[in-house]
Assembly symmetry: C2
Homo-oligomer: 167 residues x 2
Amino acid sequence: MRAGSTTYDAPALRRYLREHIPIAAAMDIDVRAADMHSVTLGAPLAPNINVHETAFGGSVAALAMLAAWSLLHLRLQAAGIANRLVIQRSTIDYGKPIAGEFTARATLAEPGNWESFMTFLQRRGKARIAVHATLEYEGHIAARFAGEFVALAAAAPSSFSEATHVR
Amino acid sequence: MRAGSTTYDAPALRRYLREHIPIAAAMDIDVRAADMHSVTLGAPLAPNINVHETAFGGSVAALAMLAAWSLLHLRLQAAGIANRLVIQRSTIDYGKPIAGEFTARATLAEPGNWESFMTFLQRRGKARIAVHATLEYEGHIAARFAGEFVALAAAAPSSFSEATHVR
């Protein structure tokens, strides 16, 4: 799939997330990679630490949600569809404690569902899709995230340029 | 249960969370109420906003986790047990969008399990317990959180005074 090799503008995504989601800036998130297949975000430990000197579960969940949201946002943006993306349900299984910089890599739970998702969104103005994310620390999986999102064709910011006009 | 009427030191809990969990400070969390039965935390919208001008799902999850963790931490502290509390699994169902200040109220999923939880923790140095939290916005439930925590009898900060020595 040719579009699958598309690489998105990681610095623009980083700016967008940090400008519009203050907690993303407080977490000091970074965009490691962003293409049609996956979005990988990273965060340092210091701003995301808990009382046990490991990563706060809330920060781990937030990084996964941001990676998952970004993947859908970028794919819909590439398709030229203005949308509003809302998380409906999320589950995280925490494995190992995270004692340093960590990453969240999001992918579609079932890539084969993308076409029907797009058809529903365009015909009915609303569609659901599942995204998975794996959180890694020192090259090992530290947690697994599963999220269900609802996309609504709406006037919400659908591109970085539009987004800058929102404020 | 007489102890059930115990009210904890909310300002001390607020200081503890904000001093040791930078994201809690960035979220500008507040402690609304804290007793043996429940811990209620609040957060304003501004520092927790998302691209759609509603509360970021990551902040909603984080507030619920902090309320749940605090309830267990305070109960174990009241029992004089030094412990390390780690979240193992969490699920959130997001209902309505949150367009302003919101709260998370945590309670034990099954209060009747507390005694066996304490017995396991004291005998084996490790025990699991489930906590629920409801998130409210304008008096209505906006999301529901369920978390499973593992408590480990350990040298982790178990009181505000000890905690201040950690840094």
